[in-house]
């Protein structure tokens, strides 16, 4: 079986091609392909081929048209073909009454039959010649326009010129199969231009016929139906045992529903030419005459040629348009890409390019969601809509609908504002997306003609099968719907989405990187703060330690001198007055030295405690992390045995961080030559205190040393000044806590306690 047979099988399910009758302007016979015996004949054969049906049924074809003519019958391939209007076969033979019969014959094969259709021969060389001339001018005129509507306008005019019909309209079918009149040429005062017809106006079977049968001529709508009889005498319609398939018949009688439709419009004769692009029914040229109109075969041929040319040009223009739109989409995408590189955030760019993008997709509104960031543009509902349901319908990252309200609950305001949406997914996780919004269809269409002005025979209101009724129905169908998104739209959307998705990914990465860098900078800042504080504290501690150390000898000097004076007095020895003055001066000088030391000490004080209720665990982690930065121990293992349940402690996080830092550094230094290098920090609650214990596996602290390690200038390491532990003690004591060294078998253990109920503010 061939493809066209498959199509016919589909058609078999519909009765339209099995109407069993022809129009009266020609006669039809069908012969068996093999035996060439006439099996069917229309009742009007006598008028067109000179024999009544009963004379020829059952006879071989030779009997009717003669052997020589019959020999000219083309050898059809073993499949269904179409009558070839452009290859006319003018035939002459003798009728039953001896009269000469002149006719034009259109043969085609359908399954087991060859159908021969006979119409009056109008061909005259002069007319054909005229047509040729016309054709040349016409083609050059047709190829001029590069806009769809312009081409349609010219095509409509030319076809009306060639056919003489009152009105020639060009319909374009949308993806949803509804039709729109995009061009019209007429001598009538009214206009159908801009009218929309519901898909149901041209039912699927008729649509298939339009695709298969490019040309359909109905010279007289109300012409008599001429039945086709088979050998048995039965009418060969759908009810017959052996119906005749008239799918490709030029003469096929008109379906009653179509007759009604045309009558409602007052049409007397019609001609339609299918416009087919890329193998699809793109549209129709509909020619209406307000009285019957039979045109010659040559004119029909010419009209078909025009239709075919128009189709080809339409296809080219459509392809060009699509290409242009794609290029425009690419340009917009490129523009955005370019500007993104200059550092403008994507959200601002999309906002900048909103009009261009909306224009590209014929959208009226835009809605951009980048995480929690939402940008609206153009027509958008006041109450935000949740578009996420579209995320589940993504195809290539795009989802479109021309009836959003069928997917999402929408209130009246939202329904009035928008009807269709195209969602462009911009991130893998679906959190970022762009939605282009289309308004309601009836907001966007315009119709040059007013429904009231359309002439129809209908006098009692609007009939279903009238343009006005159709338009009303179409509007009803379009309620809450937008212009559908077609293949071109989706191409543009894909181009935009591809660019935006890539850019958004890059931007997201950049943001993530920035966030990371920010976090690292913050971490670094904290470290510096801690180090700065450590330096300042060390200096303060140093000043404090020096003050302390200097004060000791100063005290001793002062005491000794005072004691001397007293001893002289006790021994009743008179000190010479000048010596007495000098002794007093010496004492005064020690006091002055004490004041100086105090000044220095005050000037470089450790600074205030910036105490707050802090998470001790966090301060410990920071201190340890900082100590590890400069750590060179390759095998160091750090155990942090922290307790997330300890309550916040009133303390200065930076200063406590320093205590940990100093203790950890000491431990790390002490473990430099140890085989096992483990640093353990434990936090535990001990009644009203939190105790932090720092244990290492280093060389440990001698028993003697445990007494003085917290004194300044008693460094147990060769590095540093030996004020680290002194500083720790100062800080811990300033927090009303205490610090001590615990005896341990391996390494050193230093512990400190901080009170849970801080006493800093008392």
């Amino acid at each position: 079986m061939t493809s066209s047979t498959v199509n016919l099988d589909t058609c078999d399910q519909e009765p339209i091609h099995l109407i069993g009758a022809v129009q009266p302007h020609g006669a039809l016979i069908a012969i068996d392909y093999k035996s060439r015996v006439i099996k069917y004949a229309s009742a009007n054969t006598h008028a067109f081929v000179g024999f009544a049906p009963d004379k020829i049924l059952g006879q071989p074809l030779d009997f009717l048209i003669g052997v020589e003519n019959a020999k000219q019958l083309p050898a059809f391939p073993n499949e269904t073909t179409q009558p070839e209007l452009l290859k006319p076969w003018f035939i002459e033979f003798t009728g039953s009454d001896g009269k000469a019969v002149k006719a034009e014959c259109l043969p085609h094969r359908n399954k087991d039959y060859i159908i021969l259709e006979f119409v009056e021969a109008h061909a005259a060389p002069a007319t054909v010649w005229e047509d040729e001339l016309l054709r040349r001018g016409v083609i050059s005129e047709l190829i001029k326009p590069d806009a769809l509507n312009e081409l349609a306008d010219i095509s409509a005019r030319l076809i009306r010129d060639a056919t003489g019909f009152d009105r020639v309209m060009i319909y374009k079918f949308a993806e949803d199969k509804h039709g729109e009149v995009i061009a019209e040429s007429t001598n009538r005062p009214d206009s159908f231009l801009g009218l929309h017809y519901p898909a149901s106006d041209i039912p699927d079977p008729a649509r298939r016929h339009f695709t298969l049968n490019v040309m359909r001529s109905i010279p007289d709508i109300n012409g008599e139906l001429i039945p086709i009889h088979g050998l048995s005498g039965e009418v060969a319609d759908a009810d017959a045992k052996d119906p005749l398939d008239l799918t490709f018949s030029k003469l096929r009688a008109v379906a009653p529903v179509h007759v009604e439709y045309l009558n409602n419009m007052g049409v007397g004769g019609s001609l339609s030419i299918s416009l087919i692009t890329n193998g699809e029914l793109w549209g129709l040229v509909a020619c209406h005459h307000y009285s019957p109109r039979l045109i010659s075969s040559s004119r029909l041929r010419f009209a078909e040629l025009l239709g075919g040319t128009t189709s080809a040009l339409l296809q080219s223009i459509e392809n060009t348009n699509q290409l242009r739109k794609n290029i425009k989409a690419e340009k917009t995408a490129f523009l955005i890409e370019q500007q993104v590189r200059s550092g403008v955030p994507l959200r601002d760019l999309i906002a900048d390019q909103a009009d261009a993008m909306m224009n590209l997709i014929d959208a009226q509104g835009m809605y951009l969601v980048l995480g929690n960031d939402i940008v609206q543009h153009g027509v958008a509902p006041e109450t935000p809509l949740d578009f996420t349901v579209l995320n589940s319908q993504l195809k290539d990252g795009i989802a479109t609908t021309n009836e959003l309200s069928a997917l999402v609950d929408m209130n009246t305001e939202q329904k009035d504002t928008i009807a269709g949406a195209a969602l462009l997914n911009l991130s893998e996780d679906g959190n970022d997306y762009l939605v282009l919004l289309r308004s309601n269809y009836h907001h966007t269409i315009d119709w040059a003609g007013k429904p009231e002005k359309i002439e129809t025979k209908d006098e009692d209101g609007i009939t279903r099968l009238s343009p006005r009724g159709s338009f009303a129905l179409w509007r009803e169908e379009r309620r809450n719907k937008s212009v559908p998104f077609d293949a071109t739209d989706r191409d543009s959307l894909r181009i935009l989405r591809r660019a935006l998705f890539a850019l958004n990914s890059v931007e997201r990465e950049r943001q993530a990187l920035e966030a990371q860098e920010k976090a690292e900078a913050e971490e670094m800042r904290l470290r510096h703060a801690l180090l700065d504080a450590a330096r300042a504290s060390s200096l303060g501690e140093l000043a404090s330690a020096i003050a302390h150390e200097l004060n000791q000898p100063l005290s001793a000097i002062s005491n000794y001198v005072s004691a001397c004076q007293q001893e002289f007095k006790n021994a009743k020895i008179d000190v010479p007055p000048r010596a007495k003055i000098m002794i007093d001066e010496a004492i005064a000088e020690t006091t002055r030295a004490g004041v100086l030391v105090r000044r220095v000490r005050d000037f470089i004080s450790r600074g205030d405690l910036n105490a707050d209720y802090i998470d001790l665990n966090k301060a410990i982690r920071q201190g340890i992390a900082l100590a590890l930065v400069s750590c060179v121990l390759p095998n160091l293992k750090v155990n942090l045995s922290l307790d997330d349940d300890i309550p916040p402690v009133l303390a200065d996080p930076v200063q406590i961080g320093q205590v940990i830092l100093n203790l950890a550094r000491n431990s790390i230094t002490a473990m430099e030559n140890s085989d096992v290098q483990v640093l353990t920090v434990t936090v535990a609650l001990d009644n009203d205190y939190v105790q932090v214990t720092v244990h290492d596996t280093g060389r440990g602290i001698s028993h003697d040393a445990q007494n003085y390690i917290f004194e300044p200038f008693h460094s147990s390491t060769t590095k540093g000044m030996g004020i680290g532990l002194s500083l720790c003690r100062s800080i811990v004591e300033a927090h009303s806590g205490r610090i001590w060294a615990q005896p341990s078998d391996i390494g050193a253990t230093i512990a400190f306690q901080l009170p849970l109920q801080g006493e800093l503010d008392e």
Partner: protein, 201 residues
């Protein structure tokens, strides 16, 4: 100023050898009987409850600290009048020691008279001579003479804050704080923080 009828000893607990010796020399020269202790632990080993005594205690000691010793004595019911001796930087700790019952505190380096006055105050405790209690009415009238700023500075002093800290807190210079302090001492008839703490707690 010692009264020969009122015999008592002074434990001097101080880890710095020179300070310990010089302090004892000074007190000895003034007729006091001193028992030098180089650490809290040594004091505990030498302590004789039979001897009437008071104590000069350095707060910074290796091993058991002065603060810990003070706590230890309180816990064990040993009631020695204590004069705390401290380095300047440890004022907050000294303030805490005062709160814990110390009689007075002296900052190093201290003058002869400061030391002797403090020891007199401590020894006075031994013979039921309460340190002069200033009646609340008088304290109130002295307080009323302070300016608002001086009150602020006083509050900070009572917290044991250093001049620099007070200056930061009140957003003035250290010199200004020193000025306020001397006027406070004048108006409150106080020799130092110890007096202020005694008056105002």
């Amino acid at each position: 100023m010692s009264n020969p009828d009122e015999k008592y000893a002074i434990y001097v607990v101080e880890d710095d050898d020179a300070v310990l010796k010089s302090l004892c020399a000074l007190l000895d020269a003034h007729g006091h009987q001193t028992i030098p202790c180089a650490s809290a632990e040594i004091f505990l080993s030498l302590y004789d409850p039979a001897i009437k005594a008071c104590m000069i205690l350095d707060l910074r000691l290796p091993g058991m600290s002065g603060t810990q010793l003070q706590g230890h004595l309180t816990e064990n019911g040993i009631d020695l009048p204590i004069v705390v001796i401290t380095a300047h930087g440890d004022v907050p700790i000294a303030v805490r020691a005062m709160r814990a019952g110390a009689i007075d505190f002296i900052e190093k380096p201290a003058s002869e008279s400061q030391i002797l006055e403090a020891v007199d105050a401590a020894s006075g405790m031994l013979f039921y001579r309460q340190p002069t209690v200033v009646p609340p009415k008088i304290v109130a009238s002295r307080l009323s003479k302070l300016t608002e700023r001086e009150r602020d500075v006083l509050d900070q002093l009572l917290l044991g804050k250093l001049n620099k800290e007070i200056a930061n807190e009140l957003d003035v210079s250290q010199r200004t704080v020193e000025g306020h302090r001397s006027r406070i001492r004048e108006k409150m008839h106080a020799r130092g923080i110890a007096d202020l703490i005694r008056m105002l707690g």
